[in-house]
Symmetry: D2
Subunit: 133 residues, 4 copies
């Protein structure tokens, strides 16, 4: 898919929009999204919720894995949390680490200001024969 | 913490509230939460977003891991997705699988109606010396 | 596959034999393997090596996932370590947690004497159309 | 620890020696190990066993995580398998992705000849106050 198709795909992702995630870059092979931390992103301790971090990484994972045109369904994901953050803007940057006809894997890093690592995410998809129209 | 304290803890979890997750049961050793699927939970394919499923499991994980009184910080989590669902109510049920002074592990299953398995989640926390007041 | 075929399948698993893992039970839906701890299983700290624990769980995972007849290829696995052990016999017990035509997931628990939990493992396979023989 | 101490640490790792893994490089921040594929590394399908790949990555993880002097205990690990291989030499290269007083995370890539990616591994340790003498 081209840049325009990836943006269209992302615009249909209602949960990511609801959480407040913005697609920043979607050129081939480089997907980035951002999330400005707001009150609704916080957990009981007042830091960004692990599930909000997961949502940010997952938004990038979805665009990256569907960017080849075939429908890609997430089959599993793993996230490690390095740092608790309370404010500012978080950036997720994705990278394809393997691709074959049926399966593909992606790595997403989440960083805070000055590039400090907040979380790392790795996810795998099953690639269907069906393509996005 | 008693049932009341766990409910108080959960009520401060702003992200889980925002997503629309409800704590259903919080007696010692048995934590359950529910999420009625709404439009804002869906992904670009019109099924429940992986990150919404993660959020549901994570809400249970947070209550379960903090239920002993010590502050518990998630250090990593793994989720496997078994089934795409579009509507109805999802239930997450948590279980502690190990506990030592510094670390603890939890397993959460997400099921749809009739108990069919939608996703499995496993998470680990680091337990601080500090307790919830 | 029947019990006999699963044993044949396991007997061709050279790495598991080399490590010293024994298939204890392979009736449909219940796979168990054992490993008597020997010097060559230890790590630099003198406790059972994480990779030896992984090998024990993986042996069960391989038999369980191939037991339906289709060739099953591991695509990923996750292991959590709960307890360091130094001697005795370890037992791994597997369970299928999901199965569809292309993908399946398995959970394996490793216990030491008296059933104390040493590690938990979860793995996913891609199921080929090709069957064994 | 210096290069010499890391080699000493690795030489006490009996399981890795037994599997046939060789420590190739252990300068600060760069750990590499190699495994020449032999018959005893193979699974029932005649390709390198997932647990042998895990062992190779885990050997690097152990040296890297113990290189700061404190005793580091693996608490969990995740491996994704990209490619089945049958012969040649496999190389694992490790990298520290986060480090704090209690926890640290490492990433290890396994490649075959020409640098093609065979598996990716990520592991986390708990760091004890005790140091290696």
């Amino acid at each position: 898919m081209g840049k325009h198709d990836m943006e269209n795909f992302y615009n249909k992702d209602r949960f990511s929009q609801y959480v407040g995630i913005e697609l920043l870059e979607s050129s081939a092979g480089k997907i980035r999204a951002g999330m400005k931390i707001k009150k609704h992103h916080l957990n009981s301790m007042g830091t960004v919720h692990g599930a909000a971090l997961f949502a940010l990484a997952d938004a990038v994972f979805a665009v990256a894995s569907n960017s080849h045109g075939n429908i890609a369904m997430a089959i599993n994901a793993h996230i490690s949390f390095m740092l608790a953050v309370q404010e500012g803007v978080l950036i997720a940057t994705g990278q394809e680490i393997s691709l074959n006809p049926k399966l593909a894997s992606y790595k997403v890093d989440i960083t805070a200001e000055q590039g400090v690592l907040v979380a790392t995410f790795q996810g795998m998809v099953y690639r269907k024969k069906e393509t996005h129209r």
